[in-house]
């Protein structure tokens, strides 16, 4: 395993990038998911259709395609815009980090839309009625009754969405993101050991997956402490 000496540093920084992508995309994914779910649950016909198109498009399109489209496509748009201001500019690049992060957030967000929607629908209507009868406002009902029940229902599938985010990060290496896959590519040209290098990448991702899974289990326990056993 001494072929790996000297590379541990690079892998470490690569792993940090994976972590950064995860955290940024997590927030965006929740945002997109909630917006989509709200749109689907709202009374607006248009919102319905738009959200419907959102879920159909991004659940039916390969992730790599979305990443490529966003990366190359946004570069073209931004370059055109920039050339309006300064015709000398030849090319405006979107950092792969952001192109990739936004892409995977949009994709997993479309799955999260369905999850959140299902969770909102799964809230016990009796609880809502009780809150209304007690005189709570819509906002209060939403915050104190709907959300607590809803996140518990959404948690198991949401955990899977988080795992998807972790794993989709590897795809961003295709557009040049300097994370672990990238490190492996470089290491291979130097050491000539592709199996070893990619196994390390796999192990790092497995580590992240394990952390996410443990985290979800912990949150599930936290959620259960007030709802289970209260019979």
């Amino acid at each position: 395993m001494d072929v790996l000496t000297g590379w541990w540093d690079d892998y470490f920084w690569g792993a940090l990038v994976v972590g950064k992508v995860f955290l940024c995309s997590l927030g965006l994914m929740i945002l997109f998911g909630l917006l989509g779910a709200m749109a689907k649950l709202s009374n607006s016909h248009i919102a319905h259709k738009v959200a419907g198109a959102y879920t159909v498009v991004f659940r039916g399109t390969p992730e790599i395609l979305v990443i490529l489209l966003l990366y190359f496509g946004s570069a073209i748009i931004l370059t055109s815009i920039a050339q309006v201001f300064n015709p000398a500019i030849k090319f405006v690049d979107v950092p792969p980090f952001w192109a990739g992060t936004i892409a995977i957030s949009i994709i997993v967000g479309s799955y999260a839309t369905e999850t959140f929607r299902g969770a909102f629908l799964g809230v016990n209507p009796g609880s809502i009625e009780a809150a209304r009868a007690l005189g709570m406002s819509d906002l209060q009902t939403f915050i104190y009754v709907r959300i607590p029940e809803m996140w518990r229902l959404a948690l198991p599938p949401f955990g899977n969405h988080m795992l998807s985010l972790v794993k989709d990060t590897a795809l961003i290496s295709i557009i040049g993101l300097n994370e672990t896959m990238f490190v492996a590519k470089q290491a291979i040209t130097v050491t000539g050991k592709p199996f070893t290098m990619y196994i390390v990448v796999g192990a790092i991702y497995l580590g992240f997956s394990t952390l996410v899974t443990l985290f979800v289990m912990g949150v599930e326990k936290f959620g259960e402490r007030t709802t289970v056993g209260a019979k």
């Binding site: 489209l69 990060t169 295709i174």
Partner: protein, 231 residues
């Protein structure tokens, strides 16, 4: 930035030439993956730790690491070993298509086995007890009671996985395979027209997904015929 319709008209047939490869990857990996999934399932429910634990580890590893990493390990990584290069499998493992099919099968096998297990766990225990009381053996109960019911229960989740598999076939383009995505990327590299090409490609995949959903809908309706009150 204009939308070059002529480019789309020229590129579509080229991309559709890749559909044969996409289908090949989908069908062969799907079938091999399903066979593997059934083996893993039987290992998981065997009740013997020396079957159960290895199966669990396999599933954990393959579901916890990105499919792209798995593809790279098989295609770039395995040739690192002389034993592989000398083996009887080398003609398959030397080709990117063979590697892609192998990696996709190994990956989908892990996911599908858990889906099947979910179906098996969903079978009403009382109905199995009735089988026991009638003197049926464990084998007979599995074949005549568990399997038919579990298949119906697992179908929705399985159809989702097949769609995921379709999307994963696009990753074959990263190891030089000329599937639809591979051809598209080549065209984009030549023409710098990511929008026209990638959006058309996305539409092709969405149509494909739609077709798969319809197909599974038919199968689901057939399998659910005994769950409806109206004859």
């Amino acid at each position: 930035m204009s939308f070059d319709l002529q480019l789309i008209a020229e590129s579509l047939p080229m991309m559709l030439m890749g559909i044969g490869i996409t289908l090949k990857l989908l069908v062969i990996s799907g079938i091999l993956g399903l066979l593997l999934a059934i083996c893993l399932l039987l290992m998981r429910i065997s009740g013997r730790w020396y079957f159960n634990v290895p199966a669990q580890i396999y599933i954990y590893v393959f579901r916890g690491t990105p499919i792209l990493v798995q593809i790279f390990i098989v295609y770039y990584g395995l040739p690192q070993f002389e034993a592989v290069r000398d083996s009887v499998f080398w003609p398959i493992l030397r080709e990117p298509t063979g590697c892609a099919i192998l990696a996709l099968s190994l990956n989908t096998g892990a996911y599908v086995s858990e889906i099947l297990r979910g179906g098996v766990l969903g079978v009403d225990k009382g109905v199995l007890e009735a089988g026991s009381a009638l003197g049926m053996s464990a084998h007979q109960k599995f074949i005549y009671i568990t399997a038919p019911i579990a298949t119906r229960l697992a179908l929705p989740a399985y159809s989702n996985d097949v769609i995921s598999l379709l999307k994963s076939t696009a990753l074959a383009s990263t190891i030089t395979i000329a599937d639809m995505t591979g051809i598209a990327r080549t065209i984009v590299a030549d023409t710098y027209a990511p929008y026209e090409i990638f959006i058309s490609l996305a539409i092709i995949y969405m149509i494909f997904t739609f077709g798969l959903q319809k197909l599974f809908g038919v199968i689901e309706r057939y399998l659910s015929r005994y769950t409806k009150r109206e004859g």
